[in-house]
């Protein structure tokens, strides 16, 4: 620790920091382009010139690059020195020689680093009268617009894309003053984090192609701190809206979660709220009506019934909405659960319970520091930013081990990757548990990959066990948590939940309530069902049962902001505010309660779920407490977290570990040899599936099968097969894929829904000739 003298001010520095970092840390700006906190120094742009006076008085002051010069105690640095100013001015003047006359039509304008630096450092007028070099542009897909003329060769894009996000389809080409940043051929960028180029590039080379369709300048955008609703990581975002429509979403730094980046689902998934089919007016029996009439209709249905009432919350509904629905059901004497899928419910509750017992999940910043990890399932789709954090751990040398049933992009960085069919996953985990428990890993030669995993986990300084809950059973969850206990306190446990508020939903849902609800609807005991933000009818595993059961209902009341299968079937539909149009609280995968604020209002009246429930209760003659006090009753000394703060871990009564015996009984064994596995991709999520830009990148629907087991069954690559599940059949073409487990067919979610099977369920296969 020491201090540098920056233009006469003493600025403290951390050892190992350079002058630029020291200055930025102290909120003092030294002009720069290529330095980026996450990507480090490169010395490519030469803009960060400063004058340094060596301590040794015999030496003359010299101009150096602040981003490359380590801070030393007593070092005299001048940003304002004439020599340094001149260097910066020349750098800008040279960059401007070839820069196009584009600012009025450039989407970066107004938040352009180059504009700012030109105003700060550059000459006010252009002296060069020669000709400009130009570059052709590329079609980089529906999400990113490319305008290569505006490049200033800072190399931030490739450093982010290749070095940080470990993508390989964007790079630098050519040489001299003609360096080109793009893909080898036109085509969408493949990396799930490519959207960050928009923020990383200091100029308008990469801009948001979705925002471009309905562009507004940054100074016209209404913003407020928000939380990404597309997965349980809970990245902090800054959505921007104008004229009653949402225009874009950008990253908002959280010191422990997403610091500089978010995933493309978080950045582009927001289009669901602008979807043309989004319900915006309350509907009763298919006709649009007023909010008041819809409330009246719902209230009279509820009043007239003698039967029990069901309230189905959701893992993507905020804490307030779920808690208010639960409070209403408590008042009416009905059943509440936040899960439509009993299997997901037990797995989620088991996971939350094991986190409560073992200790909280690590933050993204902590995940980056681990040196060994065991990953169950696909994180790229279920928690994209955990995937990016693990990529950072991998860059630092962490050993990543995988047990997975269907392809996962992260497995390309695996030290050990074992494909395991869904039904054998639990056995394999138990085997690993035994290996670690017996401490005899080294002797077991017949089982090399598994012993490798055991050895790397046991040898690690900090290790992580993480699984994607949607593709896990509660038995697997409890085995994984036993594994974590066996490995000791240096091992962290984490789960990628399904739904932004799945952790909170689990805290509110009693174990077994999902199956109780489904059975009560099937038995005709529940005749009125209130669904808030859930889609039981569109569920893959239980959709068939829910669809049949819902015929028994006298009224299906749905509150949602997207037109799901359930919302389409609703007798009474209340359109509610999307996440950017309301405030609330999500609990993320760590158990961190984070608040988000209302960014803007639409012209239509769109209340949030808590509001609709409160109003409905009033129409029924009940008066509910306000959401904060309802939550205060459930969680002792709970304070609604303030939007824009880092949030705090929730203290909740501990959940009992669900009995695991029942978990597997749902799946009757059948004589079929094939099992289904969910083949997910990073855009695969309920809300994001209404975002047209992102959905344009959906992988082709095929049946992925492991080559050996396919050839054994006489199936050829590219041939057609017919798959049959409980609710239908579908013909698909076969694609061989080494990353699918033996005896498993990996298919996309929409196919699973159509077939009526879930991850791990049996499938019948028939060859089509």
């Amino acid at each position: 620790m020491g201090k540098i003298m920056l233009d006469g001010h003493a600025i403290p520095f951390k050892l190992g920091d350079n002058i630029l970092q020291t200055a930025l840390e102290a909120n003092l700006e030294i002009p720069h382009f290529c330095y980026h906190a996450a990507l480090g120094s490169l010395g490519a742009c030469r803009l960060c010139a400063v004058e340094i006076t060596p301590k040794d008085s015999g030496k003359a002051p010299r101009v150096a690059m602040a981003c490359l010069e380590p801070s030393e105690d007593g070092l005299k640095v001048s940003v304002s020195a004439i020599a340094a100013q001149q260097v910066r001015q020349h750098v800008i003047e040279f960059l401007m020689i070839n820069h196009p006359h584009d600012c009025p039509i450039c989407d970066e304008g107004g938040e352009c680093h180059l504009q700012d630096m030109t105003v700060v450092c550059g000459p006010p007028y252009r002296r060069y009268r020669g000709r400009k070099r130009t570059f052709p542009n590329q079609d980089l897909g529906p999400l990113i617009h490319h305008e290569m003329n505006r490049c200033i060769t800072c190399y931030r894009c490739t450093r982010f894309y290749q070095d940080y996000a470990l993508g390989n389809d964007l790079g630098a080409m050519r040489l001299r003053n003609e360096v080109y940043f793009g893909r080898f051929q036109d085509g969408p960028l493949e990396n799930p984090f490519a959207g960050n180029l928009v923020e990383v590039c200091p100029t308008g080379v990469f801009t948001d192609a979705i925002f471009r369709q309905h562009f507004a300048r940054v100074w016209d955008l209404k913003t407020a701190p928000s939380i990404c609703p597309h997965c349980s990581v809970g990245c902090n975002t800054l959505p921007g809206a104008r004229d009653g429509t949402l225009r874009r979403v950008r990253n908002r730094a959280h010191p422990e979660l997403n610091r500089w980046f978010i995933c493309d689902r978080g950045r582009y998934g927001h289009q669901y709220s602008e979807h043309s089919a989004r319900p915006l007016a309350p509907r009763v029996s298919g006709t649009d009506t007023s909010y008041h009439d819809a409330l009246n209709a719902a209230a009279s249905q509820i009043k007239s019934t003698q039967d029990c009432i069901g309230g189905l919350g959701s893992t993507r509904e905020d804490l307030e909405g779920n808690a208010m629905l639960q409070a209403l059901l408590n008042n009416l004497g009905g059943i509440f659960t936040a899960f439509s899928d009993p299997k997901l419910e037990t797995a989620t509750i088991a996971a939350v319970s094991s986190l409560q017992n073992i200790g909280n999940a690590p933050s993204l910043a902590e995940i980056e520091q681990i040196d060994a990890a065991l990953i169950i399932g696909d994180l790229t789709a279920h928690a994209p930013m955990i995937d990016l954090a693990l990529r950072q751990a991998y860059r630092k040398g962490a050993k990543l081990a995988f047990l997975y049933s269907s392809p996962t992009p992260l497995a390309q960085f695996a030290t050990t990757a074992i494909t395991v069919s869904p039904q054998e996953m639990c056995t394999e985990l138990s085997r690993l548990y035994q290996l670690i428990n017996a401490q005899s890993a080294a002797e077991d030669i017949t089982d090399t990959p598994m012993t490798d995993i055991a050895a790397s986990l046991m040898g690690a300084r900090k290790s992580l066990l993480i699984g994607a809950i949607e593709t896990m059973t509660s038995q697997e969850v409890s085995t994984l948590s036993k594994l974590a206990t066996a490995l000791g306190s240096d091992t962290k446990l984490a789960y990628a939940f399904s739904g932004a508020n799945a952790y909170g939903a689990a805290l509110l849902s009693p174990t077994g309530s999902a199956v109780a609800m489904l059975e009560a609807v099937e038995a005709g005991q529940i005749r009125i069902l209130i669904v808030a933000g859930n889609d039981p009818l569109g569920d893959s595993r239980f959709g068939t049962r829910w669809r049949a059961a819902c015929r028994n209902l006298s009224a299906l009341i749905v509150l949602d902001c997207i037109l799901t299968a359930t919302a389409k079937a609703a007798d009474i539909l209340f359109p509610v505010a999307a996440w950017t149009e309301r405030g609330g609280t999500f609990i993320n995968y760590e158990g961190r309660a984070q608040g988000f604020a209302t960014v803007f209002h639409r012209p239509e009246y769109l209340p949030n779920v808590a509001r609709v429930i409160t109003d409905l209760a009033q129409y029924l003659g009940h008066s509910l407490q306000a959401a904060p006090s309802v939550l205060g009753d459930i969680f002792s000394d709970f304070q609604i977290p303030k939007p824009g703060t880092t949030g705090s871990l929730i203290t909740a009564p501990s959940l009992p570990m669900p009995a695991t015996a029942s978990a597997h009984s749902i799946q009757e064994s059948c004589n079929s040899t094939w099992q289904a596995a969910l083949a997910s991709w990073y855009g695969d999520e309920a809300l994001a599936s209404f975002a047209p830009g992102l959905m344009a990148l959906t992988p082709k629907t095929v049946a992925m099968i492991e080559p050996t087991s396919a050839i054994d069954a006489g199936i050829k690559n590219g041939s057609k097969i017919k798959l049959r599940g409980s609710s239908g059949s579908m013909v698909l073409s076969v694609r061989f894929n080494q990353d699918v487990a033996t005896g498993t067919i990996a298919i996309a979610r929409n196919v699973l829904v159509q077939l009526g099977v879930g991850h791990g369920d049996s499938l019948e296969l028939e060859q089509v000739l």
């Binding site: 009025p104 039509i105 304008g109 400009k132 130009t134 542009n137 562009f215």
Partner: protein, 184 residues
Amino acid sequence: MNKKQTNNYTLALIKGLGRSLWAVLRHAFVKRETVSYPDIKRTLPSRWRGRIVLTRDPDGEERCVACYLCSAVCPVDCIHLQARQNGDGRRYPETFSIDFSRCIFCGFCEEACPTLAIQLTPDFEMCERHHESLVYEKNQLLIDGQGKHPGYNFYRHAGVAIPGKAIGEAEGDTPPVDRDNNLP
């Protein structure tokens, strides 16, 4: 106040009054500056800041590229627009409205406009009975001519491609670099 001072003061008063009376008398006989508006209308200087128009470039295309600079600089916030893109890359305002009941005709928008699209004209006769009628929409603003700056076409200088002008075909551009080739 002494007597001498009072005398001086009265003298100055009479002198002043006399001068004014003389001026009035003289002006009764000189040529008149006022005209009998609206029967007679004056020709205003072309730099007069009156009704705002959106002009077209020499090719007859809309000049405005919806950059939002005029609306940003407007001190009374009376310009509202929304940008759109043609499939081919040309950007234009989908909607453009100016609330002339708020406009103070300062001319800042014209000064900010990088494409010379928005121009103030010497027309000030815009009385309306209702406030809403003073909100001019794009069809009322967009004229067919180039206004007072003939000849300028922003897209001929910009780096982006539009129909009829590919990358590297702007004024002062070199043909685009072949990225697949490392030869100098």
